[in-house]
């Protein structure tokens, strides 16, 4: 088990490393650098101005050196610029050049400086991740129980009317991406055209104080899209378990139907959905970006859209490293959980 865990951890680190290398490479291509220079400076900069801007801030050093500095294995640059001002990568406001540490990369716990938000990346990430975490937690609390109950009810008696109805509902939710369902919800529940006006169409207020009013729609939107898929998996798995021999034996012994479902079928039926729930995370992250944009909820997804718009290199790198880690960690949990839940499988 330990060996399996360590090997997976090693693969994870290699994957995250490779991905950060790719993101670093793409964001550091010259047209992208030009974009960030113009976003940070001004949009009417000429080619010369862009060039000196980039040189002064160390953007035009060789690729591997820049990457090493970002990682923290090479000393940060100290460049005396064409405007006679000395800039250092590790310099924080109010520090003299002599005081600054030599190394400042993510190994030292320094995520860099966001050119878009004009702030250090670390604190931004902390607050934004907290907000997204709140959203995700609510989504999970709604999505997992609802989809499991849906799937179990549908799979319990395969082919029944309940099954047909619930399956139709599940298939409709999987066919409705977040940007469609949120539009429909906003139109129905908040607009003056329909006239219900029960809820709010923006979740900006939910960042401080989440109420049903301002938080239900974003949560519902993300939860619904993921729900259909999990419910269908649960249904298939439940239907399979219900046809197995030991369930028939239990019925022949005269145990009541609901007792069979709860005591005998559930544990085996929930193995497959568990892995599916964990593997849904990459999709959920997508949903988060879309929903945060639509409802103007300033979490990590919103930050991603803003950072990508102005090629905010260090912010983009931080967001991608974090999201990749979330995806990989959930994959690991899914694998381990699968083994734990299913005694027939041994880790090799």
């Amino acid at each position: 088990m330990l060996q399996f865990f360590l090997r997976r951890l090693a693969v994870m680190i290699v994957t995250a490393f490779t991905l950060s290398l790719i993101v670093f490479f793409i964001t550091n291509m010259y047209p992208n650098l030009e974009k960030s220079a113009k976003n940070d400076g001004n949009f009417r900069m000429g080619d010369d101005a862009v060039l000196s801007y980039l040189t002064n801030r160390g953007y035009l050093q060789p690729f591997y050196i820049k990457y090493g500095q970002w990682l923290g294995v090479l000393p940060g640059y100290v460049i005396k610029g064409s405007d006679e001002k000395t800039r250092s990568r590790c310099q924080v406001l109010g520090m003299t050049v002599e005081d600054t540490p030599k190394y400042c990369g993510i190994i030292q716990g320094n995520w860099g400086y966001s050119s878009m938000f004009k702030e250090r990346v670390g604190p931004i990430l902390a607050t934004r991740l907290g907000l997204t975490g709140k959203l995700m937690l609510c989504v999970m609390l709604l999505m997992i129980p609802a989809s499991l109950v849906l799937g179990i009810l549908a799979g319990m008696r395969e082919g029944s009317k309940t099954d047909r109805g619930l399956s139709a509902f599940a298939i409709t939710t999987t066919a409705t991406p977040e940007y469609v369902s949120s539009i429909i919800f906003i139109a129905i529940f908040t607009s003056s055209a329909v006239g219900l006006k029960w809820l709010k169409g923006t979740a900006t207020g939910a960042m401080e104080d989440a109420t049903i009013d301002n938080f239900l729609l974003p949560v519902l939107t993300i939860a619904l899209y993921g729900m259909g898929y999990i419910a269908r998996m649960t249904r298939a798995s439940m239907a399979e378990v219900m046809t197995s021999q030991y369930i028939r034996t239990a019925r022949l012994k005269g145990i009541t139907f609901y007792r069979i479902v709860i005591k005998h079928a559930l544990r085996n039926a929930l193995i497959a959905p568990f892995t599916v729930i964990m593997l849904q995370f990459p999709w959920l992250l997508n949903g988060v970006v879309i929903v945060e944009t639509i409802f103007n909820y300033k979490g990590i997804g919103w930050v991603l859209v803003q950072a990508a718009g102005s090629n905010d290199i260090e912010m983009l790198l931080a967001v991608s490293v974090i999201s990749v880690f979330v995806v990989l960690v959930t994959q690991l949990i899914s694998d381990i959980g699968y083994v734990y839940l299913n005694p027939r499988i041994k880790v090799t």
Partner: protein
């Protein structure tokens, strides 16, 4: 002129869609009549769910084709702005309609005074054209790599699986934001990606023909040359763009595809193929152990013959089902790209961009955003139902 009532709007739209209804009735009539001779396609008409799904999908296919080729169905130019028609309700008569012009905006006007109904149908044309094609390309990439990874195993499998997992670990939107921007297009990166990804159909077709006609070299040579010439030329025309990073073949370039569209297309193929790869790889590893594969190996057949003509046909059931589902998913991805304004022209009537455009005034004028939303939802739902029906019917035998 008076505005139309709801019943008149529905009537007007149904009348505009008349060619689609006729085509649908003809398709269903023939298919149901001959369903016993049509294999899996015919069996689809035994399942109600499959038929509903098929009807919805074919509705969009027919309306897309008729609007795209014959210019039927759409009432106004989807890009044309008419003064005085901004944010109008459905059924508003068109101001200053000339002789021969359709006198109403059936679904009203959007925030730029364009006809919502025509934009919906035109958006359908875009999707019907791109989504199946992009899915087909991802399948060719996924099948070629998945077959070899599953069949050969070992080092090749480890490496390809690592690559696939690498791409899958990226949240799709982040990948789109990195790949589909004008700046990245200037670096030529999507074009190099095109060169690599579009080479797979070429390899796939060549190997397919080669393995089939291996025993008759003359026929093989003729077919292979012919296929390589046609597909190869198309390949060169696609990757070559004047005034870009690849201008080597300017003299024999047949057609040019809009750079934004190509970038969108390639990134969707790029995102989709790892999943197809994983499915095909799994299926191959399962089928590899069957007796007929062992028999073919004993006969001394080549590895690629076994992969393409023994394993692949036996994996077709799950692959066809996944193909339908994946077209739906691709439609959603295109919508996402349009929604974030990536790649395609903001003017273009694709559903995602239209939804995003209508979002700003959603609270007062919901129709411009709702109409494309329901269009997209219905198409994806139709594809999902179709896949469900196919799965049910293919499991039956």
């Amino acid at each position: 002129m008076q505005s139309l009532a709801w019943i008149e709007i529905i009537g007007g739209i149904s009348f505009q869609l008349l060619p689609v209804w006729i085509a649908l009735i003809l398709t269903f009539g023939f298919s149901i009549y001959y369903k016993r001779r049509l294999g899996l396609y015919g069996k689809l008409f035994d399942s109600t769910i499959g038929m509903i799904g098929f009807a919805i999908v074919m509705f969009w296919v027919f309306s897309g084709i008729f609007a795209g080729i014959f210019d039927w169905i759409i009432t106004h130019d989807p890009l044309h702005q008419v003064s005085g028609m901004k944010n109008k309700l459905p059924g508003t008569p068109m101001r200053g309609a000339e002789e021969g012009e359709y006198p109403y905006y059936l679904f009203g006007g959007d925030h730029l005074a364009r006809d919502v109904f025509s934009r919906m149908i035109a958006g359908g044309t875009v999707v019907i054209l791109i989504a199946p094609l992009a899915t087909l390309f991802s399948f060719m990439v996924g099948i070629t790599l998945g077959l070899s990874a599953g069949y050969y195993g070992k080092r090749l499998d480890t490496n390809l699986s690592f690559l696939a997992n690498l791409i899958l670990a990226f949240p799709v939107i982040l990948l789109f934001y990195l790949l589909v921007t004008p700046e990245i297009r200037a670096t030529g990166l999507p074009q190099y990606l095109t060169v690599v990804l579009f080479a797979f159909p070429l390899i796939f077709i060549a190997v397919l023909i080669n393995t089939r006609f291996q025993t008759t070299p003359t026929a093989r040579n003729i077919y292979l040359t012919l296929a390589l010439f046609i597909v190869g030329w198309a390949y060169i025309s696609v990757i070559n763009q004047p005034e870009s990073k690849i201008t080597l073949f300017n003299s024999i370039d047949l057609f040019d595809i809009d750079g934004g569209l190509l970038t969108v297309f390639v990134s969707v193929v790029f995102v989709n193929s790892p999943t197809v790869f994983r499915i095909v790889r799994g299926l191959t590893m399962d089928i590899k152990t069957r007796d007929y594969v062992a028999a073919a190996q004993t006969r001394g057949e080549g590895a690629w013959y076994i992969m393409l003509w023994e394993i692949l046909p036996n994996a077709r059931g799950p692959l066809i089902v996944d193909f339908c589902l994946r077209i739906g998913y691709t439609t959603i991805l295109f919508g996402t790209l349009g929604f974030f304004g990536l790649g395609l022209e903001p003017e273009s009537p694709n559903w995602g961009a239209t939804i995003n455009g209508g979002r700003k005034l959603l609270l007062m004028y919901p129709t411009p955003a709702l109409v494309p939303s329901f269009a997209l939802m219905s198409l994806v739902l139709g594809l999902n139902l179709l896949a469900d029906g196919l799965r049910e019917e293919s499991l039956r035998d």
